[in-house]
Symmetry: C2
Subunit: 315 residues, 2 copies
């Protein structure tokens, strides 16, 4: 069970051009193909923050000539776009038809307090002036993000349930590498007629990966990000990698503000959720080092697990 960050498909300094996305997907596919080759069953959740943000700009820029689609439709589009790219890159290494991307809906609660407070950054960074202009022009919520500039933030409710769970299980059991809940899934909530209706939100893909991993009964969850190892006191003279954490230690560091809401925070939150719901271990690392971490290298990646670290390190 591997969750792949959207930033891993378009890095912060990249524009989001198709060739950049494909090159990033190739690197990720290499790690995934390696794990599949040594017998792993893999469900992969990719992110979509940069891509869904770019789509939302295109909607507004062209709104005079083409109707803008709502946010949940844009999230759905990124499942086709990024699911397709990852399928092609995995299939290139593992054979055609190995990887399958399932358009996935994820149920959220309309009463989730997240609807009152948009927190999930999407799309590119803007200057303060441009961000203020877009807030006025397009009604966007914008915030300063991690000292790197201003970004649009959208509602990001907690995932409850994955609608296409049975299909995902079936495909995994048949040996496919399954791409599911891409971009955190298309957010839906229960309508008065009993159906599920699209909701304008971008669910955090790490949290959806935790829900998917728990539903699959996976023992391990891998959360991929831009760094090989979680850093404590990030950006200070005391910055240092941490290789093993108990859930208690991780929760403590989170309370101390060690992990920003727009980047490492959701990963730690997702890890803690997975461990509460029966998971054994969570690893946080980069796409490039995924295979090394999975092979048990102790000097790379961050492992979060419930057993005491001293015992865990010799298992």
């Amino acid at each position: 069970m591997v969750a792949v960050g959207g930033n891993a498909l378009t890095a912060a300094h990249q524009s989001g051009a198709a060739d950049e996305i494909a090159a990033n997907a190739t690197r990720m596919a290499r790690s995934l193909a390696h794990l599949a080759g040594v017998g792993w069953r893999l469900a992969v959740v990719h992110g979509n923050g940069p891509q869904v943000g770019n789509l939302s700009i295109q909607q507004e820029e062209a709104s005079a000539v083409v109707p803008a689609q709502p946010l949940h439709q844009l999230a759905a589009m990124t499942q086709g776009q990024l699911g397709g790219v990852l399928v092609r890159e995995i299939d290139r290494l593992c054979g055609p038809g190995t990887a399958v991307a399932v358009v996935t809906h994820v149920q959220v609660d309309r009463d989730d307090p997240a609807f009152a407070h948009p927190t999930k950054p999407i799309g590119p960074f803007f200057t303060a002036d441009r961000a203020a202009e877009l807030a006025r022009l397009w009604g966007w919520h914008v915030v300063e993000d991690s000292g790197r500039g201003y970004r649009r933030v959208v509602t990001s409710p907690a995932p409850i349930d994955i609608v296409e769970m049975e299909a995902i299980r079936l495909l995994l059991a048949a040996g496919h590498i399954v791409l599911a809940a891409g971009g955190g899934g298309i957010a839906v909530s229960r309508a008065t007629d009993g159906g599920l209706t699209g909701v304008d939100a971008v669910i955090d893909k790490d949290h959806s990966a935790a829900v998917l991993a728990a539903a699959l009964g996976a023992r391990e969850l891998y959360l991929l990000t831009g760094v090989d190892t979680v850093l404590l006191d990030f950006g200070t003279p005391h910055e240092r990698p941490v290789h093993v954490l108990t859930p208690q230690e991780a929760a403590h560091h989170m309370e101390q503000g060690q992990f920003p809401a727009g980047s490492m925070g959701p990963k730690i939150g997702a890890a803690l959720r997975f461990l509460r719901e029966g998971g054994q271990r969570v690893f946080i690392t980069s796409a490039d080092r995924l295979a090394d971490v999975a092979a048990g290298y102790a000097d790379v990646g961050t492992r979060i697990e419930s057993v005491p670290a001293a015992i865990a390190s010799v298992t």
Copy 2:
């Protein structure tokens, strides 16, 4: 096996707004749910002409601020968008998790003569002046389409093979309604490294439906369009519906120019391909009348089959 036209999701007079698409999908889902309810196994191929055209306009309008994605990525996006809409509308009637949309790649031949002659109309209609301007600005190929105005045309090679065939079979066998090869599929061709690479083209969804139906060993293929029944001498004083055709008669009418390249032509071509590849019967009708035609009503829809019409009508 049902192929659903893209025009059935955004009619020619509609703008392509999300609520229009959802309302059209609801009508289609009603027919599909009815068939599923009486025991049919259903694979559904939706079109994407209006939607992929709108996305291509957004790419160009916003290209100064966001990198334009290539056409095969836009086709992939419509699979997430429209697959998701149809899944939600079918699930509303049949229960959550019933319908599953698979992001589907369809192989084409790089040497297909279609690459020299763009023929597939996508997106909205323009005036002659505006079409000429877009051809100059954005490098589009534009043509006059069916007397209704000017449209962008793109390359539309013949589908050869559906990459995700095994996954589609598995999901159908488990009782899911499967949405596959949406918009004709993401076009891919064999690269020098043996992998499949995205190709900038929009495959005709009726032809992909014929390939899918033949690969599934389906006996019947339903092609949905804006009219209940195929019309001969369309738009003339001799205009009349035709309810039964042999492949020979259909081919003859096609040679006589009865079926325009941008609308009924591909449906008849796809029907003939399916019948050549082992299919028994093809029906052409509207989403609203699908259930009636499937139930055997003789006064609606057009049936194309190899056996003599006189015998077919009493089976």
